[in-house]
Symmetry: C2
Subunit: 147 residues, 2 copies
Amino acid sequence: MKTNTVKALYTKGMSFDIEIGGHIITVDAGKEVGGQGLGPSPKPLMLASLAGCTGMDVVSLLKKMRIDFDEFNLKIEGELNDEHPKKYNKIVLYYQFTGNDIPLDKVEKAVTLSLDKYCGVSAVYKQVIDLRYVLEINDKISEAVKV
Amino acid sequence: MKTNTVKALYTKGMSFDIEIGGHIITVDAGKEVGGQGLGPSPKPLMLASLAGCTGMDVVSLLKKMRIDFDEFNLKIEGELNDEHPKKYNKIVLYYQFTGNDIPLDKVEKAVTLSLDKYCGVSAVYKQVIDLRYVLEINDKISEAVKV
């Protein structure tokens, strides 16, 4: 069994330096909520974690499938509910590719393999959050599909 | 309703630059799994998100209670299961304070208010992950308490 450890050191105001496997990330609250905006705020990091997790899966799977692309962006939107605790109730992932001859079915296969089987972050979120994905290949945009 | 957005741009290898509210974080896989270790790997960012969220709550609540401390570290350990998808099945938060005259009951009040009421990250995780906290004030260490 593997264990991941992070260590957050409180610095000042609302800011923490968080050590993650030898890398330091500063998190802070935005100026509108009493912080100084020295780094990203915590809740979007939940989305960044998801982006990295499924993004790496998809890159790795497309490479195995020998699918080339020019550019890959993964935009993630998370809707927060209004009452406390303010948590995500819906997350939409937009997998955006540009390039020539990118087959939609292969991209969909890679994305669903990640979200259904490999990504340990989406595996947690989808149990309690409405998680959907959209595929965008050049100008072609698919319907949102629920995971 | 508020929406958070992050944008991950694939750069090279397993690495992505993720834009979060004007800040860029590079995530990468470790060298042992085909990456170059250019930044933190995605899954520990789930723990960093939790650290920032509850850490800021606790700092803010202790300030309101007029409780002073010299140092505050928040260590978080997440145990991953072995089979795919490799997700956290247990997370332990260690709230570590040093300083004079820090009342345990007030710290516990701040921590439980965060984990029960305010923190939108723990609110998601605790529904599907065994979440526990430990309070460490100077040399005094409490039992782990399930959230």
